[in-house]
Amino acid sequence: MTTSALLREKMEEGWNRPPVISPDGEGELLEVAMGPHHPSTHGVFRMDVALDGERVIRLKPVFGYLHRNHEKIAEGVSYLASMPYTDRLDYICSLTNNWAYALAVEKLVGQEVPERAEYLRVILGELTRVQNHASSIGFLIQEMGASGTPLMYAFKEREKILDLFEGLTGSRMMCNYMRFGGCRVDASPAWLDAVRKVVDELPGFADEFERLLCSNEILMARCQGVGILRPELAVNAGVTGPMLRASGVNYDIRKVDGYGIYNRFNFRVPLGDHWDVFDRFMVRLLEMRESIAILNQALKEVPGGPVMDPKAKIRGFRPKPGEAYGRIEAPKGELGFYLISDGGPNPYRYRVRPPSLINLTVLEDMCLGSNVADIVLIFGSVDIVLGEVDR
């Protein structure tokens, strides 16, 4: 049966179905498909929602609209050839995707990274976090109905950071910058000065955004007490990143694993204590401030030297048989890569652990009992990118 015929049959089945009665037996449940083209979904994603009046009775996420079997493609090409493709997973934060993949391969072959490259990775990773969190807060306000302006404030700042990425890597979003055992090109002193200049302006931007978040009564009324996620459930459901910390669980992979050189920097881990949508955004805002602190420390002490391990093998890269799982604290949560090598030039198994997909496990639990309009906010507070959800 062709897809269209199958689809037609499904649709007819839907039309002929008897109405669903609500649990109290009084009314009829309304089944709504939010998506795949709902503007709040930031891409193509569907939520099949059953409503009793305004109240959400059931919510089933439907995935796969952007599925291109990234993992299968990566198994057919060499290790390095997947590097540019990781940019396309979470296309807002391509540099942290590069980093996670490079880290997993470095674990697989036991490779060292030079000091200077580690510093550059931290600087780029934290800049990525700042711009991701800024745009995610901007999107929240956009979804609440403040169309355009607040989002553009966030994008103004993001654009400065993207200009820095372009200056170093040649591309605003598809950076393809990290390599196994270092980074692709060295940063010039002028570029580092430009970063210092941008970072100096970031606290002012964070202050402005904090005033915007904490002084608007409508925003607070809509966000506080909505979409509560209990810490026990968050841990059990594998929720990671700002979502987990907003539920009051102190777990930051930068602190726990101390990958790269993160154990050299002083920074705090912000935690939420109301476990709601507002906390999730406050945690993101506070994380931006901590990222700025890390950036200031890192920019002070960037050492000289090569950015690529001179012993790194680029051509004929064949890791010995074995497996490795490497993970980092990406802006959206724990981004991991699991690799199995059979000694060949291609990975035998290449798996992406997508934080966006796994954080959605609890979407239904957070939305049950709330209003339809709150779905948009709760969903926005998860902060996903569909390129990573569907892979």
């Binding site: 599925h67 299968k72 594998g238 074995g322 198994r349 496990t361």
Partner: protein
């Protein structure tokens, strides 16, 4: 943190009847794993989550791996009695030769779980399970009842690898559409070249193109004939 050997003995003490095998990874990452018997997997998983020392409360990553049937060519020594002419006389002589023989090592599907502890901040502990074969006995117990984070990931493995998780609350395809046959992440999956083919006005165009091509071919054949 405990080593894999210590975890193995702790499991075998606490879960009676459980057999755990250590699968070593020769990679410098040193992430060795524990292979569980599917029949005791849920009990072992519950023990690993609730044990005070292990406290593996966070299931980070679940993934499938396909190990297809392997054809192994071995050299086997074969002794045969052969009739041979020795010094002009036909005699029965025993002769040993090496012959290549092909043997098929049956494949399986494997599922790998990466566990961490948020409480104790250690990990990863890697556990894995194997199905009996790749065709009809592809059932494994679901660990969603122990860790909710397996819910979507096990659905994805069911979708892309075809492992059936017993006890999963909502085992449907995750990424491919309902009604899709096959499992695209398997190593022997062949991508169909005609999927999503739909009859559209193209057909009329294609028919006209074919007719045109036929006339062209006959014309060129006549052309070459005249040239000779």
């Amino acid at each position: 943190m405990k080593t894999v050997e210590e975890i193995k003995s702790a499991i075998e003490v606490s879960v009676p009847g459980a057999a755990v095998e250590i699968a070593l990874s020769p990679s410098p990452s040193g992430q060795h794993s524990l292979r569980l018997t599917p029949s005791h997997a849920v009990e072992i998983a519950r023990f690993m989550r609730d044990d005070e020392e292990l406290a593996l409360d966070f299931l980070s990553n679940v993934t499938g791996v396909d190990w297809p049937d392997k054809e192994i060519t071995e050299k086997v020594k074969v002794t045969r009695t052969v009739t041979k002419a020795v010094d002009g006389m036909e005699q029965q002589v025993e002769e040993t030769t090496e012959e290549p023989r092909k043997r098929i090592e049956p494949g399986c599907l494997e599922v790998v779980y990466h566990l961490y502890s948020i409480e104790k901040k250690h990990g990863p502990v890697v556990i894995r399970m194997r199905t009996v074969n790749r065709t009809d006995q592809v059932e494994l117990p679901s660990l969603t009842s122990i860790w909710r984070s397996a819910e979507f990931q096990e659905r994805e493995i069911f979708d892309l690898y075809g492992i059936v998780f017993k006890g999963h609350p909502d085992l449907r395809r995750l990424l491919m559409w309902e009604g899709f046959k096959d499992h695209p992440m398997r190593r022997d999956y062949v991508e169909p070249d005609d999927f999503e083919y739909e009859p559209t006005p193209h057909d009329a165009v294609l028919a006209r193109a074919a007719a045109h091509k036929a006339t062209q071919e006959s014309a060129s054949q006549e052309g070459t004939g005249a040239g000779q």
